[in-house]
Amino acid sequence: MINVTKFGYEPGEHEAEKASNSYLMSLIAFIAGLPLPIINLIATLIFYLGNRKGTYFVRWHCTQALLSQLSVLFINSYGFWWTVSIIFTPNEITNQYIAYIIAAVIFNLGEFIATIYTAVQTRKGIHIEWWFYGGLTDLICKSES
């Protein structure tokens, strides 16, 4: 799921810090806005907008941090509205619902761990590409040179 690859150049200390921060940003927002799945997306989006003029390494990791929110965003939004419908409408808890919530928790946990790992590694200047999101980021985020 996670690939360690060589980046085009050796990122500097401050670049590594900024890149790592973009993951930390999503982690903090993840904890703060847990019931509302949209919050961590907004937080990473703000960080992305603030850093899109940064160096290539920073830009690349901001983009990956933002994109990686997408899958859990969809999963959590659906789970969120499903829960709301159980509380406020005659819909009842079913096996399907419990299974969905468990699957959602596993995916959130997976993303959470991967984010921590990536934050730590990028802080050391190690370039980490995620399955699917790494490739997607490569398409979106081009080096200026």
């Binding site: 005659p90 079913t94 096996n95 399907q96 699957a103 995916f107 699917f132 997607l136 398409l139």
Partner: protein, 270 residues
Amino acid sequence: MQIGVMKKIFIQGLLLIALFFATWLVFAQVDWMTVFKVHQMTDKTEQKLGELFFDIFKKSEKENVNPFVANCVDSILTKICKENGIDKESVQVHIFDKDEVNAFALPNGHLLIYSGLISASDNQEELSGVICHEIAHIELNHVMKKLVKEVGLSVLISMTTGNGGSEVIKETAKLLSSSAFDRSLEKEADIKAVEYLVQAKINPEPFADFLYKLSANEHEVVKYLTWASTHPDSKKRAEYIIEYSKKKSAEYEAILSVATWEKLKEEIAE
């Protein structure tokens, strides 16, 4: 080169989605409701709540212990349950001496009928209709749904553990006796009631007449019309009951003889 990369990313994305759905599907094979004892927990809560609320009515109102009245109502109930495959043990009927035209369901299948309702019924089909409507609420689990929605699960559970406070319990009991369910739940119960009636070979039209009569306020016991006033749009309900029962043509037969019905009314009047 670019197309190849995009294809690879696309496949990776699809795999990611497939992985999620596969995880969901695998977990959905487990019967979580049993694992977490969802049903047992709710059953226990419902049982406790039923006792709690019934106690309140038992203390504040007078229960009718006339065996003839009990037998008559039981005959109607037995017939309805038998013809519809309902476990008769799941419905416990109690008759209270009160002029209010009212009948309502409490948690755990307690069905309370006020003598005023029996007096206000011109024939046994009308009474059977109201009983069927309340049984439908019980069978469709409307009582607990309403309680959870209006009071909240946490308050309900705290009641059963003895931390509820008697005022809260009283107010909640009142909520059940003198307010209707959601419009959609009422309609669902009406439709189900007609099904029960037809299945038990009871003509559903008098049930519609009963609602119509009450909505028209022509009845002598107008001031006690709780059941009709808490159930909104009686006229509309009467209309769709007629509409729905027209589709079901069947032969009808009386449960109680005319003489028995007359005697029941006399006993109630005393």
